[in-house]
Amino acid sequence: MTVRTGLIGLAGAAAVLAVLVQFNAALGLPAYLIVLMVTILFWIAQATSWNLLSGFAGYFSFGQGAYVGVGAYSMAVLTGRNDVNFLISIPVGGLLGGLLALGVGAVAFRLRSLRGEIFALLTLAVPFILAAYARITHSIDGGQGTTIPLPGFPSWIADFQHLLFFLELAVAVVAVGVALAVHGSRFGRGLAAVHDAEDAAEVLGVPTFRYKMLAIVLGGAIGGMSGALYALQTGFVTVENVFGLTIPLFVIVMSVLGGRRHWLGPVIGAALIVVLEDRLAAFGLESWSSIILGALLAGLVVLAPEGLYQRLRTHPWIALTTFAVVLVGLSITGYWAEVDAILYAMLSAAVVAIVLDRFHRKPPKAAPPKAAPSKAAAPGEEAEPPEPLIPAQIAEPDGRVLVSCRDVVRDFGGVRALDKVSLEVSEGEIVGLVGPNGSGKTTLVNLLSGALAPTAGTIAIGGQQIAGMAAHRVAHTGVARTYQIPKPFASMSVRDNVAMAVMFGRRGASLAEARHRAEQHLATVHLAHLADAPPSALNLHQRQLLEMARAIAAEPLVLLLDEALAGLNPAEIDDAVAVIRRIHATGVSIILVEHLLRVLHHLATRIVVLDRGRLIAEGEPSAVLSDPAVVTAYLGRQRA
């Protein structure tokens, strides 16, 4: 489904709902259904707001209450205390929510250590601070709470519930529309890559900082607008109501239940949880609702962390039919009140989807033909796999300097990992970088790819200084790297992993174009037969090849291979060496970190030796490898 059809569908659904509600009296829809829908729409907006950063990009937040609070107090202070029109208070709430998010993001995302649980704990602190501030500031709250009077509204709206419904519908449509557009865009792909493997995404050219900032600000603005409506809806705002932990619990349960990786997940989760809550209240079980939600959260994280949406979409029509049949069936028999019927219909659809998924679980979608290398080369299929990318001209080593390091120093605390290393790499070279463990090889790779900044000295790629540049911009100067331990994007197919690199590479491309070009790069590393497989189905060798495919897809001038042969058996090493030669033949210069001197001897045009952070030798392979200083560094003193 494209973004466009999605948006049209969303607008259509909203229009139908609006008409149903506007003429509910004539259509015989009871008023309490409108109240229920108002609540559902509020939580759809909130869960979607949370999901933009926490679901798509994986930065879990416990601080949703902060946005609700900022929005609610915008309404309370402006409309409740100063008689400003509520239509002004809503965008003000959105603006303040966005600004708050901007502040949180600017602090949190500057620091790489603030990931995972540390980010979550930081977001936990934000509503507490705001709550303390609101409590002591008398012009905001002062500990008494604030009442918001019923606003006036035009005569074509029947009553206050109808007004609320239209406002909530508008905000929810904006929220879901934004989520839908983000999900289908380049931005959304970037967020998914951040979720799966943030470091790898950054060095492939994804502007991770900017994307995370954009996601958190969008989420904050939506949360603030919707929070302003919360104040209007409840008519009375207290610090405990908005800044407490109930709101984060609700949005997290809803998104986890529905599914966090898709825009529809929070919508499904919100609808189901609100109806469930409503029924619990009707049976007089309010005091159990937190217990049930808490247990649901704990159970879901263990049993179905991917959420309902994943299950529903494998059999969407069966689930939808179940929903409709149960709903109509129960309504016709008249045995169950309407909302009960809706709840039971939802639950049966969910159960059917889960059960079908259990018993019908297809073998992983594109069952990867395991013995495919020979198959791909079978004569009948020659036309099918795309040609490996072979450029018209094979680059001659014409001496243009691509990488130039001057007196590069890098300290970690008191440890000097690199000490005044100067190095040049020219077009067409394969430079082998060797040295004992801890000699600074990987540090050098991290500096060249921009993952770390040098403590002193300069690094230029293709004549452009990169010291202090963000890693994704370094990538665009023409550097790509692989990781010693492969870091694939786990939620994407092998093809899409490579397509990510094309999309965010130096030239950039649309998703469709990127997928097409990805095929060529997969062919170069002989992985085309696994294009549809998930990365989890690959063995170590294939993952290393995927790393290489992803790196060359960025169309680099220089490729940094960090121990790309580690852990491979002899046959796989031969295979990988052949791939490296093919990549080199396309005109890419290569810096290869490797321990296998025998391989380097044949492969490298030049060898550079590091020992304890210093460059101790460089030159033609056989000369360097027989240098006594190198032998001492590598094999110990006795052998020298």
Binding site: F60, A132, G244, I291
Partner: protein, 290 residues
């Protein structure tokens, strides 16, 4: 003089923060479980103390004889579940968030959301105080908090440093696979550790109930201070936890005297944020578990 008094009282109350933080810090550092349900255990411990004292006339300090074994079992059971279902790190944060909500709701259903406080005649400690020279007065509750903190948190530190069990845990925190290869039974270790964390929650709950009114929502109010202590002290570092607890206590004591009590949360949360930003590995580097 009033500032000295505030700083001293703050330092002693800091003992309570350290007691609350110790269990959280060790399970996070060693078992990689960020157990928000620990706050639930402290809450239940506090209410059980209240119940035993009010209904059966126990001396408040003696209640630990009942609550500590109970919460030892609860803590060990929790850890057994986390371990069986392989819930660690981020997932443990989510799962235990759900469990905490359950604990708070159960406490609300049993003891209601009203404030509960032990009657003065049952609880002699609440009103007692020790007078030092120069007009310094220290409430008994804070002295008890500090004494228990030194005994339990400091004692835990010594155990981890010196005993075979402690070495095993440290080895396990640093590299699970290698530790397992050398015959360290992580299941049993985890159960013991989870249990001890639970028992420490019982003590922390008892100390809290001595000097404060109870309401289920207080569990949320501990979050900020306790996580500040855990992170400032260094995850898994018990001596650091004790020092950080005292430091945070002094800070909030001073802030509430010098500015006003209402600015206390700001100072605390500023401390956490600065701690997270500047030294996510903790203020005190070596000497702990991890």
């Amino acid at each position: 003089m009033i500032t000295v008094q505030a700083a001293l009282a703050g330092a002693l109350i800091g003992g309570l923060y350290a007691l609350m933080a110790a269990g959280l810090s060790v399970t996070w550092g060693v078992l990689r479980v960020i157990n928000l349900a620990h706050f639930g255990l402290i809450l239940v411990g506090a209410y059980l103390t209240y119940q035993l004292v009010s209904a059966w006339g126990f001396d408040p300090l003696v209640t630990v004889v009942v609550t500590a074994p109970l919460l030892f079992v609860a803590g060990a059971a929790l850890q057994w579940v986390y371990d069986r279902l392989n819930i660690v790190e981020f997932n443990s944060l989510l799962v235990s968030f759900g469990l905490l909500m359950i604990a708070i709701q159960v406490a609300t259903n049993v003891w209601t959301a009203d404030f509960r406080r032990m009657a003065a005649r049952d609880n002699a400690y609440a009103t007692g105080s020790v007078e030092l020279g120069g007009g310094l007065v220290l409430p008994t509750t804070t002295l008890l908090a500090f004494t228990f903190a030194v005994l339990i948190v400091g004692g835990g530190h010594v155990v981890l440093r010196t005993t075979f069990l402690g070495r095993g845990m440290r080895a396990f925190a640093q590299d699970r696979t290698v530790a397992a290869a050398f015959g360290i039974d992580h299941r049993r270790l985890g159960l013991v550790l989870g249990g001890v964390a639970g028992a420490s929650a019982a003590v922390a709950g008892m100390i809290f109930a001595l000097g404060n009114s109870l309401t289920p929502a207080t569990a949320y109010e501990w979050f900020g201070t306790v996580f500040a202590v855990v992170i400032l002290g260094g995850v898994g570092n018990l001596l650091g936890t004790l020092l950080a607890g005292v430091g945070v206590g002094v800070l909030s004591g001073l802030v509430s005297v010098i500015w006003s009590p209402s600015t206390e949360p700001f100072a605390l949360f500023l401390a956490i944020i600065l701690a997270l930003l500047l030294r996510p590995q903790g203020l005190f580097r070596r000497g702990g578990v991890a």
